[in-house]
Amino acid sequence: AQSVTQPDIHITVSEGASLELRCNYSYGATPYLFWYVQSPGQGLQLLLKYFSGDTLVQGIKGFEAEFKRSQSSFNLRKPSVHWSDAAEYFCAVVAYSGGGADGLTFGKGTHLIIQP
């Protein structure tokens, strides 16, 4: 079965500094990978997704992620964070069974804190 690991429960970054959030996945075939952000009291918003092709994916709000098959990773990056980036970030994978695409399997999330 597929799984997603986000090793960092909390990360604190100073405003204007760069950011990298880690995500490792376990899935036998080529994974379809996603990063979502959840702000307090709000639903999840898709930042970016990877299906195939270029392993560096650009998303919204200045985020990007790089798929590395050899490391089973899909880390999220941003060159300069803003206070409004403080939120919960989730990495997710969708897998396929005999009946087609399953639902998203999420990691436990990384809570991003921005220091002024």
């Binding site: 997603v4 379809y32 979502y36 009291g41 709000q42 639903g43 999840l44 918003q45 898709l46 997704k49 299906f51 989730f90 997710a92 969708v94 396929y96 069974s97 009946g99 087609g100 695409a101 399953d102 639902g103 998203l104 399997t105 999420f106 990691g107 436990k108 999330g109």
Partner: protein, 114 residues
């Protein structure tokens, strides 16, 4: 264009009761998925509805059931509530079921079971 809407926003129930949560998908979407998000955890897939049928299901007991209506809106029903069912319940909609489609999430219904 309204996004995914869910009702109610909050709900308090007692153990053993039954609850119904509702979801209206984003305009043009035909697929609805439900997720349970316990405090401090990532969302867990409950099931997905397409063409008024449950097409995929996660690892949840059959106390959890659902329905999709001809207008694509959906309900999640939970019977015989347990304390552990306290969570944020998220609805997501998409167009199609191939797995590549972006799922758009609603704000969720927060359920507290006492």
């Amino acid at each position: 264009d309204a996004g995914v809407t869910q009702s109610p926003t909050h709900l308090i129930k007692t153990r053993g009761q039954q609850v119904t949560l509702r979801c209206s998908p984003k305009s043009g979407h035909d697929t609805v998925s439900w997720y349970q998000q316990a405090l401090g955890q990532g969302p867990q897939f409950i099931f997905q509805y397409y063409e008024e049928e449950e097409r995929q299901r996660g690892n949840f007991p059959d106390r959890f059931s659902g329905h999709q209506f001809p207008n694509y809106s959906s309900e999640l029903n939970v019977n015989a509530l347990l304390l552990g069912d306290s969570a944020l319940y998220l609805c997501a909609s998409s167009y199609g079921t191939g797995g590549l489609e972006t799922q758009y999430f609603g704000p969720g219904t927060r359920l507290l079971v006492l």
